[in-house]
């Protein structure tokens, strides 16, 4: 009874709006009351949540395993850095250029899914992440190779400098909130339903008049667009970029955020991001094993609860271990009742 009441409480819309308002108010007040480290962690969460939400559109809604998201992030960051340091382009223009340029790269990478199965696209994304690193490390004249590009000026929209830590915090906050609203509206729209239809049953979707290849390419472009924006923000926020940030390990971390939060849920992406940004900060001694910890989390989640914390039912298994235990408990209850009768 108590559990049902609790569930009722959380499923009410008014409760949800109330909780969201508290969260919003807390994040607005946070920079004035906390220290620099906390502010930095929350800012990192904002940037990473852009990445994980983009990857959620690709992986959780369209069902494509994208293991090169960090490389797209890197494309956005390098476009911004090169435009700002080499050509003195203002940040607002570089920001848009990063988004659109990365989306174009995403378009080129996803074109093979016109003819090939979805699984093949994950091979291409892994290959892309390695090719990206090879190009960045060897094209000395443009990307300055392994030493990276320093001295990127701070975030600046239309001549207004956001150089203080609090101002940067609020810019990142605003971009994250706007992106969240845009992405969740995309996933609730007709196109979002088409994406989920393609994920669940490609043939069925096709017979309902949806073009799977188009949907896949478009969702890939949307996801990589937000990765590009995140890249621009990251480059201007940190002020320096190097190839070692945008490795395959970062891509798997981004994907793990989506899995933990729950595939097929945009708020889930944010929840997963919070966990994977805060975890390495709190257990620094385990930082060496971060990859392994992420792997164990992936394994256990897939075996026991593939839909993650708040993911879509489409990922839940019918005969997973969790369901089996549940069935056994139900069977025991039925047997008990029969005994009493």
């Amino acid at each position: 009874m108590k559990k049902a009441a609790l569930k009722d409480f959380f499923s009410k819309k008014s409760t949800r709006i109330f909780l969201l308002a508290i969260l919003f108010a807390g994040l607005t007040v946070a920079p004035f009351v906390t220290n620099t480290l906390t502010k930095r962690i929350i800012s990192t969460i904002f940037i990473y949540s852009l990445l994980s939400m983009g990857n959620m559109v690709i992986g959780g809604f369209t069902g494509m395993l994208n293991l090169g998201h960090a490389a797209f992030w890197g494309v956005g960051a390098y476009i911004t850095a090169i435009l700002m340091t080499g050509y003195n382009v203002p940040f607002s223009a570089a920001f848009l250029a990063a988004g659109i340029g990365t989306a174009l790269v995403g378009l080129v990478v996803s074109i093979p899914c016109l003819r090939l199965s979805t699984d093949f696209l994950s091979l291409i994304t892994i290959a892309f992440s390695y090719i990206f690193l090879a190009v960045v490390r060897n094209w000395m004249s443009v990307t300055k190779g392994p030493q990276g590009i320093p001295g990127i000026s701070c975030i600046n929209f239309f001549g207004v400098d956001f150089s203080s830590a609090n101002a940067v915090y609020f810019v990142l906050f605003a971009v994250a909130v706007v992106s969240f609203i845009v992405i969740s509206n995309i996933t609730k729209s007709k196109f979002g339903l088409a994406m989920q239809a393609v994920r669940d049953d490609e043939l069925g979707a096709r017979s309902a008049g949806i073009k799977p290849a188009q949907v896949k390419i478009l969702s890939f472009v949307i996801g990589t667009f937000f990765a590009g924006l995140a890249g621009a923000l990251y480059a201007a926020y940190i002020g320096y970029i190097g190839p070692n940030t945008f490795t395959f390990d970062t891509s798997t971390t981004i994907f793990q955020m989506c899995i933990l939060g729950g595939l097929g849920s945009i708020p889930g992406a944010v929840v997963g991001t919070v966990f994977f940004v805060v975890m390495p900060e709190t257990i620094r001694t385990l930082a060496v094993y971060r990859v392994g910890v992420g792997g164990v989390i992936m394994l256990l989640l897939m075996l026991f609860r593939p839909q993650g914390i708040m993911g879509s039912r489409a990922f839940a298994t019918k005969d997973g271990i969790q369901e089996r235990i549940k069935n056994k408990l139900i069977a025991r209850k039925v047997a008990n009742v029969q005994k009493h009768v």
């Binding site: 093979p112 090939l116 190009v135």
Partner: protein, 294 residues
């Protein structure tokens, strides 16, 4: 002989050897892949793990025993991975087994990093070092040994799949899992066995690769998965010799790219060749067309 021509033949020979090593890793992968049509992310890390084990065993035991032991152990690990990571989620959504396999790969990688460290280790060269010179062309013995081993494995596995009862049962499972189990084929015994074979031959390829380049490192893991996967898809899913030919093409493309263009971009060129071939022929070079039924 014309020096350009010598250079060409030298590159060709090297490319064939590199391709043979890829195909040795890819052959095992191909068998696992075609069984359930699920991408096996753990394969790359498994074969590197096995190569590391053989490296450690060589300090204690004679070399052939060490390699055999490592191969068998990798087969055992492959079976364990199948039992713990794949079987519980076999009927789940398509992405779920892929993700759990990636998790297993990351766990294997972390264990290897804890035991052997993150740096690349120098692997002893087990292949004969000399060469035969014909008209200015240097024919290295090690290239021929590697090509020979991989040919032997491919022919052996093809015969195994065609002429033994076990191989035919495997082909039945490839055709349809549920029908095979209805016909009384013990699928839960054959599938782990195929995973074990995949791990076994993966380590053979891994040892050959490591002793050819004289280095073993954990970075080869995910890279090996990609190479094997690319070779399998290129050659066509479902045949062992398809994976062999795919591996050869991949190796040749990379070696010619590094010989005539730049070694920094050899991998990129390899992938561009694969994507170009697949765009023209999506089933791979020797693959059969799979018609999706409702």
């Amino acid at each position: 002989m014309n020096p350009d021509l010598i250079y060409f033949f030298q590159t060709l020979l090297n490319g064939l050897a590199v391709g043979s090593m890829y195909s040795m890793i890819a052959v095992g992968y191909s068998m696992v892949y075609c069984l359930l049509n699920r991408v096996n992310f753990a394969h790359g890390d498994l074969y590197v793990f096995g190569t590391f084990i053989s490296f450690s065993m060589m300090q204690i035991f004679p070399i052939p025993a060490a390699i055999l032991f490592a191969c068998l152990l990798a087969g055992l690990i492959g079976m364990t991975i199948e039992r713990t990571v794949y079987r519980p989620v076999r009927d789940a959504f398509r992405l779920v087994p892929m993700i759990s396999a990636l998790g297993a790969a990351l766990v294997l990688r972390t264990i290897a990093q804890i035991v052997w460290g993150t740096e690349a280790l120098a692997f002893p060269s087990l292949l004969p070092g000399g060469y035969l010179e014909i008209a200015g062309l240097k024919l290295f013995y090690k290239n021929f040994v590697i090509i020979g081993i991989s040919l032997f494995i491919v022919i052996g596995l093809t015969c195994f799949m065609r002429y033994t009862k076990l191989g035919r049962a495997t082909q039945c499972i490839v055709e349809s899992l549920s029908t095979a189990s209805l016909m009384g084929i013990p699928i839960n015994r054959i599938i782990p066995l195929i995973y074990a074979l995949g791990g076994f031959f993966g380590v053979v390829g891994g040892v050959a690769y490591s002793s050819y380049y004289g280095v073993v490192s954990m970075d080869m893991g995910i890279w090996g998965t990609i190479k094997a996967w690319a070779a399998v898809i290129l050659g066509g899913v479902g045949t062992t010799y398809g994976a062999f030919i795919g591996g050869l093409i991949l190796g040749l493309a990379e070696t010619f790219a590094s010989g005539y263009l730049s070694s920094a971009y050899k991998e990129a060129v390899g992938y561009i060749v694969i994507i170009a071939i697949l765009m023209l022929k999506p089933t791979g070079l020797l693959g059969k067309k799979r018609i999706e039924k409702v």
